[in-house]
């Protein structure tokens, strides 16, 4: 008994000393700073660009700016469109990669990941160069009489969406591939043998089979999209500004930190609400599968 006591004491000491560095670091530099965002939304701004003393509702009231609802709506809308197109492309790609022979599979998987080990800014810049008014794509499209020489390819919402899809695609392909790899493809054949059309087999057998991978791909794309800041800043114009741009503007141009933190609070809410929705979807799905297996029993 006494020996066990000493052992458990040692065990707790071991657990504590191993957890201590990361816990302390993340509490100080992650948890507290995140909570500070909420707190500073109730602080007045300091004319020098710092944070004033005392508490106020002024910052929250300042959010009534008539431009904000539109920007918040655009941020959510553009993130949804990005997520939709990214998944629409990533699902067939993941399916294709999972079905090719293992030798070639690693190579193609590597090909999809390699561009994304390169710098994020360089990839965005590469697109800016392609879409540039004097760039290659513009020349090619004008040459083919598809657009008039006055059309601007850069600085519009479509350009932002294109580059967002480009940067997020691998983050959707990876979890979808991981799910597709575990999927039993003979189930699809069985569905076809039983008379299902190809499309029906795809949506009723394949999609439920990779459901959890699909949900995590959704989150992997949606969450960074909603926090986008660099892409709309570099390839977007004033009519494609997102919440991240406004936050950055408040910080770097106006030096109004409380206002920026109030906007960040909105960003957190815009991210959390779909997150809870997705998590619920995940649970429901597991419940439904359980129910259906019970039905089989």
């Amino acid at each position: 008994m006494a020996k066990k006591h000493i052992f458990s004491k040692k065990r707790i000491f071991g657990e504590f000393s191993l957890s201590f560095p990361s816990m302390l670091w993340l509490i100080i530099f992650f948890l507290i700073p995140t909570l500070i965002i909420f707190a500073i939304a109730f602080k007045p701004a300091d004319p020098l660009g710092g944070i004033g003393s005392g508490w106020t509702f002024q910052t929250i009231l300042a959010l009534k700016n008539p431009n904000y609802p539109q920007i918040i709506w655009r941020t959510i809308w553009m993130s949804c469109v990005t997520t939709f197109f990214t998944l629409a492309l990533a699902i067939p790609i993941a399916y294709h990669i999972a079905r090719i022979p293992p030798g070639r599979r690693d190579f193609i998987l590597l090909l999809t990941i390699v561009p994304f080990w390169t710098s994020f800014l360089i990839r965005i810049f590469a697109w800016k160069a392609v879409l540039h008014p004097e760039g290659l794509l513009k020349h090619a499209l004008v040459y083919c009489h598809l657009i008039s020489p006055e059309t601007l390819l850069l600085y519009r919402p479509e350009a932002v969406l294109l580059v967002m899809i480009y940067t997020e695609l691998p983050f959707a392909i990876l979890p979808l591939y991981a799910a597709a790899e575990k999927f039993d493809f003979s189930l699809l054949e069985a569905a076809l043998d039983l008379g299902a059309s190809r499309l029906r087999a795809f949506f009723n057998v394949y999609i439920p089979g990779i459901w959890n991978g699909l949900l995590s791909a959704c989150l992997m794309v949606f969450i960074p999209s909603i926090g986008s800041y660099v892409i709309p800043d570099v390839v977007g114009g004033t009519d494609s500004m997102m919440l991240g741009n406004i936050i950055a503007q408040r910080i770097f141009v106006e030096r109004n930190l409380p206002h920026a933190s109030a906007l960040s609070t909105i960003l957190i809410l815009a991210m959390l609400i779909p997150l809870l929705f997705f998590l619920k979807g995940k649970k429901n799905k597991v419940g439904r599968i359980k129910k259906s297996t019970r039905g089989i029993e």
């Binding site: 071991g14 657990e15 191993l18 957890s19 560095p21 990361s22 816990m23 670091w25 993340l26 530099f29 992650f30 948890l31 507290i32 700073p33 500070i36 965002i37 500073i40 710092g50 944070i51 492309l89 067939p92 790609i93 294709h96 193609i108 090909l111 999809t112 390699v114 080990w117 390169t118 710098s119 994020f120 360089i122 965005i124 810049f125 590469a126 697109w127 160069a129 392609v130 540039h132 760039g135 290659l136 020349h139 480009y166 695609l169 699809l188 969450i223 960074p224 909603i226 926090g227 986008s228 660099v230 991240g244 950055a248 910080i251 930190l257 920026a260 933190s261 960040s264 960003l267 991210m271």
Partner: protein, 265 residues
């Protein structure tokens, strides 16, 4: 056997083209005399020569490596201890610990950046190298932990007990068995941390001070100011470094696989 649909394959190859085309164009344009890259005006190395003389780029590179060096070391140590804690102990405390490690991975970078900026301003720490290193460690720790943790899960912990039974003390079993086993995980974690630190722009932009401009921040201001050919040349050099690193990594891992097969035989 059903006939496979050709559509997924076609989409895959088109998307791969979509992935590489802008990058290839960028590399080609770094040798193009034309400023905007709309047409091919002839081969030149003058952008590389200009880049060579751009002192601010090299200072930024030095700063980047300085921050990455410390961020990698600190985050590898903290991340490894965290991975051990998560692997060895289960319970409510570790569940909280895991949550704390996992959340920074899913939060948008801009929120991490702004929260750290607000924190540093609140506690009145001047922005500079210290704040940069702290910020980089904060987002690297989670990645290192995950890399080491996945390695630990493959590791048979009973070997440690066996070494103890055979008379090794704690120090011996740690240095002779545990460390060599987790070394590859730690190296992978450190490599990941270094890559993330060198590449990070958003968080760095929020917490950088006047003298601590890193390469991504420098590239961003070049993109904004519009010295396009210079960025093409710089990007081509950085891309070459990345591709070379991937190649070396691939060769190393392949070599290891062969070795382990030989050992089994």
């Amino acid at each position: 056997m059903i006939k496979k649909s050709k559509i997924p394959g076609i989409i895959t190859w088109l998307v791969l083209l979509f992935f590489y085309l802008p990058i290839i164009l960028l590399v080609v344009n770094s040798f193009n005399l034309s400023r905007t890259g709309g047409s091919w005006d002839g081969f030149t190395l003058k952008w590389y020569a200009k880049l060579w003389n751009a002192k601010y780029v090299w200072t930024a590179l030095k700063n980047t490596l300085f921050v990455a060096f410390f961020a990698t070391i600190i985050s590898t140590i903290i991340g490894t201890t965290a991975a051990f804690a998560l692997h060895l102990y289960k319970g409510k405390f570790q569940k909280t610990h895991y949550c704390l490690i996992y959340t920074p991975l899913v939060i948008p970078e801009i929120l991490l950046g702004i929260s750290l900026l607000l924190f540093f301003v609140s506690v009145k720490i001047d922005l500079g190298f210290t704040t940069m290193i702290i910020a980089h460690v904060t987002f690297c720790v989670s990645y290192v932990t995950m890399a080491v943790l996945s390695r630990l899960q493959d590791f048979d912990m009973t070997i440690l007990e066996a070494s103890r039974d055979l008379g090794a003390n704690t120090w011996q079993s740690t240095t002779h068995i545990l460390l060599p086993m987790v070394m590859p995980g730690m190296l992978a974690g450190a490599l990941l941390a270094m890559t993330l630190s060198v590449d990070d722009f958003v968080i760095s932009f929020f917490v950088a001070g006047p003298g601590s401009t890193t390469l991504p921040i420098q590239i961003y201001s070049m993109i904004k100011r519009g010295s396009m050919p210079l960025i093409n040349a710089l990007s081509t050099l950085l891309l070459s470094v990345t591709f070379l690193m991937i190649l070396v990594f691939q060769i190393l891992t392949k070599h290891k696989k062969k070795q382990s097969v030989l050992n089994v035989e």
